[in-house]
Amino acid sequence: MTDSKYFTTTKKGEIFELKAELNSDKKEKKKEAVKKVIASMTVGKDVSALFPDVVNCMQTDNLELKKLVYLYLMNYAKSQPDMAIMAVNTFVKDCEDANPLIRALAVRTMGCIRVDKITEYLCEPLRKCLKDEDPYVRKTAAVCVAKLHDINAQLVEDQGFLDTLKDLISDSNPMVVANAVAALSEIAESHPNSNLLDLNPQSINKLLTALNECTEWGQIFILDCLANYTPRDDRESQSICERVTPRLSHANSAVVLSAVKVLMKFMEMLPKDLDYYGTLLKKLAPPLVTLLSAEPELQYVALRNINLIVQKRPEILKHEMKVFFVKYNDPIYVKLEKLDIMIRLASQANIAQVLAELKEYATEVDVDFVRKAVRAIGRCAIKVEQSAERCVSTLLDLIQTKVNYVVQEAIVVIKDIFRKYPNKYESVIATLCENLDSLDEPEARAAMIWIVGEYAERIDNADELLESFLEGFHDESTQVQLQLLTAIVKLFLKKPTETQELVQQVLSLATQDSDNPDLRDRGYIYWRLLSTDPVAAKEVVLAEKPLISEETDLIEPTLLEELICHIGTLASVYHKPPSAFVEGSRGVMHKRLPARTGSGESTESPDVGTAAGGSAPEAAPSIIPSQGDLLGDLLNLDMAPPTTSGPPPPTTGMQMGGMDLLGGGLDSLLGGDLGGSPAMGAGFGAAPAVMPASLNAPVGGGLGDLFDLGGGVGMPMGAYIPPKIVWLPAMKAKGLEISGTFARRAGVIQMELILTNKAMSIMTDFAIQFNRNSFGLAPAGPLQVLTPLGPNQTIEVSLPLSTVGPVMKMDPLNNLQVAVKNNIDVFYFSCQYPISMLFVEDGKMERQVFLATWKDIPNDNESQFQIKDCHLNSDAASSKLQGSNIFTIAKRTVEGQDMLYMSIKLSNGIWVLAELRVQAGNPNYTMTTIRRSGS
């Protein structure tokens, strides 16, 4: 006998009949009646009128019946809040039942009754269940806390349930731990400022232990929670990775993806030259490939994520091209994703295979897939220069098929190929022109028109071709109209004699007969240009176009980083940050990858921000101790100006207030690379006062610099960045103005430049070079100015620097001579960089080593000076200095004086050790530094 019979009663008066049956004395009849009620509920009938009668059946000794009544309650309690109270007593009673199954059932159902009125009655039973002896009840109660929190957060906090939940993370039962972690994560996600999951090495250790013992789902909860943690240093990062990697062998794809997320995130902190880093890279590839044997939906999630991973770390899958070859029976969404990844992995080494595949795909029947395959061929041509010729000939073959959408798609990509390799493949234009008539899609028409206009001088009948488009001008889409206008103007400039009439015609069509403002404006601009200064017109319209870049569809790096932190989730499938599609998540912190920080403090650690945002009083010491002879020079130079410290600028106070208001949401912003709080600026008003007499003595100047400038601008917590100053005035450089500064971000020295074009003409072809300098600074890559800089345009560029360039001692020591070239001329200027930029992240010396070194170094290398008017206590000072890679190794307190021992390492390997003495109540610090040459 099956349950389907319960669905069959459909006659009128049914409710009435059910009511009678529910109130029957016979237990069996009662149960049958409840089943009928649930059946009606299932098919969507409203049976809420039976509420009191069903609730009356709640006190039963039949488990099946009880479950059904509970189910009914969950569905209708909200619509009958007053009557739901009737159920409270039974819940309270069931929570004390001898059978753990009943206790858990009661506590589980209780939380699903989202009626505010009854929630407070549920607190006592829940409290008991959280401490139940049976883990089955405890794991259910843990989830119930999250449910209750969703209904009434305040109540849960007042009742102290959150603390109980945190305690459950140390429970002896792995399933309880997993559910507690899940519940806490859920609460933390909806209340980002709650700071619930204050993960620390101890709690992380507990989670990692539970990871080995809980169910597959529990493993996912724990891994997802781990992914929110930021290890203190690379060693901790590595040890977590080592304990997470075995999960890559789990049969459940979701466990694998969550493990990949943790590894991808924590890898960021590992130095690339570490052996383990390479091992980890190798371990990631096979499980990612195996995900492609999972069910299609999981394959889809995996592919979307692989797309991100390939962009972030192309080396992982670079040899795995073949696994992304499309199978005939793949669902279309899998096919399209595979194609995307194939293009990303295409390289000179595998291009022949890729092209053969793409050609095969381009002759399939699925239109979307074919189009994408054709487009992919074009992208290969642009990406792998050596293959361009083969790609073009493949596209020509495809055009010969005369399949309409193939031809159109091919023409669109050929246009891009022309943009990338101008004057190379024009021989194919004739073939393209043959297909003019078959083009009916705007994008293809626009592309074809662009080609005709661009190469008008080589196409004999260019005027005829363009004229043919002109007939139906008003029926064309804007895209085509704009392109046609430009193309005809180009044609006119190239062959003025024969085409005057044509250009007149198009200009009047665009300006007089069109109501599209874009088109009209462009038409007027051309018209005026042509009528006033044809030479200028030529320069503008026929200007050389910048080459298009290789990969146009890369995800922007900060978004990519955020998405990597969301591997496996909807965000990673949509390739959008959660704030873009989850309601009410606007203020939520954007996740970031941790910065690689050697053994230093991670810049992301949120408490750095908050500590700084607090009441920083007047001044704190920030120290640029320096090294040896080089430093003597530096000292000379820098020590002169700063002697006074003004009151903090009024703006800082306001910024501080703003910080507090915005709270945690801003942490990520401030705590990221920029690090820290603007309020800090105020704290650094003081200047070092006493200058060591000896030139040879280190410390001082640079330090003063730090303080002094810090007072003026909002000094970020992470590392000190001076404000931008003008390095090259426009007057001296034919209209090019360069201002800039230096910064150390995520362990990389950056030269941050603002280029402004104050001249009348366009500037292109920027390049930069440095003269030899004291610390071997050199650009680590070309100057990334990809688009031409128009008049009055400004562009911000940041140029990563390396310290492996040629070395020559400069005077002053931190002087840097720079040459910038553009299409107009070469310009020279010099600038000075703050020495603190050279402090490296692994400058934290081992305690023992520190001690030995401190004793070893002769007194000659020692110098002392004072810092006046610092009102920070030693802890705040120490954390502040850490932001600039000045690490506190030890602290001791002698007679009310705090002594901080610190170490600094410069990029050229020179160590500086320092002792900072801080006396409570005395705003003047004493600093002693010694240096040791590099190892």
Binding site: K147, F221, K327, V582
Partner: protein
């Protein structure tokens, strides 16, 4: 974290049964699901993830049912899909087959299961054997014999209950290797992959500790035995029961097995092996008149092995008619509903070559619909043989009662995704 609610819908989009797990979304949102699916279908589009406003639907299809999870948060999508598939598995264990009828016939149990497998969007116990210990289809009196949650549910060993007893203790192992092959129309092997799986049928009493030894190359390198023939496994996936950290450390596969049938592990190898059955084909299409097909099949394994139940599916145009066949062995069948010719060879010994010719008529009026060039696919199985050469060296069974138990091992190689593209 994952699903706000889960729905089971019929093909028309009618809700058969649903469970609201978080109560934070309007359950009627699901009414938008089917219209969106229809619209996508019209555009020949398809995606396992559809959106309506702030509601996201993650769905899978099983027979005539849609299983749909609804969320409005940044849910863990991999977890949701994996959970939906697990649900299907659980329902199948309970009702033999999961389809519209079985949902209707067992709606009370379905509700109970939905209550147990997920709580507030967090998947809980999904092991059907354990679930069956306390969610049964008979009504229970609370006072007598009402089930209690088995300790297994929350134990670290959550897949095997204590107190299992058998008179005769045995373990049956099946080592099954599937060969995935993709060959281009020009006859070059694009991809060749072996996906293996070791399935267990465990008939053992108590809480036995098992250790499985394979001729794993990495293991042999660690232990310094390199003379024997070994297999390099590219990626290995294990059942929940295997101690992953232990495997990571010293490649030991140790576990307490679930009772009854389960998949212990799966593995993947990319070593290029000679395609076991090689197909050469010529498909000549004479528009408006006929198609002529010539297929040559060659078995490229040792002659002491034999492939059984070989079926070679050759695509033909969908408007073909009047089939004629000639084969050197086996028989041919035209399957118009799939537009293929299926050539069956009951037994195909190694080192042999067979031929098949087929002839079809084509209508003089050609259909306007463009047809894709479908590949030739091949099904087969070869018993007592693994392509990779993997071997079970031992299976140690230790139980504290000290009983003797026998392991039985069977090897089989079969076709996986075996495709040869045609011109």
């Amino acid at each position: 974290m994952s699903a706000s609610a889960i729905f089971i819908l019929d093909l028309k989009g009618k809700v058969l049964i649903s469970r609201n797990y978080m109560g934070n979304m309007d359950m009627n949102e699901v009414d938008h699901f089917m219209p969106i699916m229809m619209r996508m279908e019209e555009d020949a589009d398809s995606s396992p993830l559809v959106t309506h406003g702030s509601a996201h639907f993650l769905w899978i299809k099983h027979r005539n049912l849609y299983l749909v999870a609804m969320t409005k948060k940044n849910a863990n999508a991999a977890l949701v899909y994996s959970f939906l598939y697990k649900m299907v598995e659980v329902f199948k264990e309970y009702f033999k087959e999961l389809e519209e009828e079985s949902i209707r016939d067992n709606f009370v149990t379905v509700y109970e299961l939905m209550d147990e497998v997920m709580d507030f969007g967090f998947p809980q116990t999904t092991d059907s054997k354990i679930l069956q210990e306390y969610i049964t289809q008979q009504g229970h009196k609370l006072d007598v014999g009402a089930p209690r949650p088995p300790a297994t549910v929350t134990n670290a060993v959550s897949w095997r209950s204590e107190g299992i007893k058998y008179r005769k203790n045995e373990v049956f192992m099946d080592v099954i290797e599937s060969v995935n092959l993709l060959v281009s129309a020009t006859g070059s092997v694009l991809r060749s992959e072996i996906v293996g799986s070791i399935k267990l049928k465990v008939v053992l009493s108590g809480m036995p500790e098992l250790r499985l030894g394979l001729n794993d190359k990495v293991l042999f390198e660690i232990t310094g035995r390199e003379k024997c023939k070994t297999v390099e496994l590219e990626d290995v996936k294990f059942h929940q029961c295997v101690r992953l950290s232990r495997f990571e450390n010293d490649r030991t596969i140790s576990f307490i097995p679930p009772d009854g049938e389960s998949e212990l592990m799966s593995y993947r190898l990319n070593t290029t092996v000679k395609p076991l059955i090689w197909i050469e084909s010529v498909i000549e299409k004479f528009s408006h008149s006929r198609v002529e097909i010539k297929v040559k099949a060659r078995s490229q394994f040792k002659s002491r092995s034999t492939a059984n139940n070989v079926a070679i599916m050759v695509p033909v145009p969908s408007d073909a008619d009047s089939p004629k066949f000639k084969t050197s062995t086996g028989s041919c069948k035209y399957l118009p509903e799939k537009s293929v010719v299926q050539w069956n060879i009951k037994s195909f010994p190694g080192g042999k070559e067979y031929m098949m010719r087929a002839h079809f008529g084509l209508p003089s009026v050609e259909s306007t619909e463009l047809e894709g060039r479908r590949p030739i696919t091949v099904n087969f199985e070869i018993p007592y043989f693994t392509v990779s050469g993997i071997q079970v060296r031992y299976l140690k069974i230790i139980e504290k009662s000290g009983y003797e138990a026998l392991p039985w091992v069977r090897y089989i190689t079969q076709s996986g995704d075996y495709q040869l593209r045609t011109n």
